[in-house]
Amino acid sequence: MSKAEQILAGLGGDANIVDLEPCITRLRVEVEDPSKVTESVLKAAGAIAVMQQGTVVQVIVGPEADTIASDIEDLR
């Protein structure tokens, strides 16, 4: 699986994503169901850290966030 596919899986899949936006070091994601987010999968995909507050998940991936976000968009 590509990094983008792994991150998408860690976020609970396409259906769980309400909004996904890259900032310069992180993906800011709004999810439908936070319980479907699996931090271990996101970290295995290369996330440096995962911050979760309610339905907003920030996946810290470093400066390649833009590229990963567009790869994820291509999968959706």
Binding site: I24, M51, Q58, I60, P63
Partner: protein, 150 residues
């Protein structure tokens, strides 16, 4: 590889990254650095390098040796969608230290309920690679030395 002096991209008061109200920056998750609580409206290049990433509210310059320096203009300012930011360079441009990159209005950002503090981060650098050239609490002008990177 020669040490890299990183300049203050904005004038203002120097803070430790730990003071920044954002867990990614305060925890130095993407790298060590310092922050500046800005007073001016001009944002200048902290190093010589290539503009590798450019958002209205943040940019990454890649300097000699592939060393990346991230400047983030305010916290949660991605939500502004670029409103209030005037860009003077484009991605891929080669810039000189002190060159004007962006103009913005930190007072308006604060008035909108967001912190205008500007983290300056040595991306993926080891914490001990950084030597502070300005101490938290000091006032700096844009272009003054902020820290040195081994």
């Amino acid at each position: 590889m020669a040490d890299l002096t990183v300049l203050a991209p904005v004038g203002g008061v120097v803070h430790a990254l730990a003071d920044v109200d954002d867990p990614v920056f305060s925890g130095e998750i993407v790298g060590p650095g310092l922050a500046v609580q800005p007073t001016g409206t001009q944002v200048v290049a902290p190093v010589a390098g290539v503009v590798a990433k450019l958002h209205p509210h943040a940019f990454v310059l890649v300097a000699e040796g592939g060393r990346g320096v991230l400047v983030h203009l305010g916290i949660n300012t991605v939500q502004l969608g670029g409103a209030g930011f005037v860009l003077h360079v484009a991605e891929g441009d080669v810039v000189e230290p002190g060159q004007l990159l962006v103009e913005w209005d930190p007072v308006a950002v604060e008035a909108g309920g967001r912190s205008a503090i500007c983290p300056v981060v040595a991306l993926e650098a080891a914490p001990d690679a950084l030597t502070r050239l300005a101490s938290p609490g000091a006032e700096v002008s844009a272009g003054d030395p902020l820290f040195r990177l081994a």
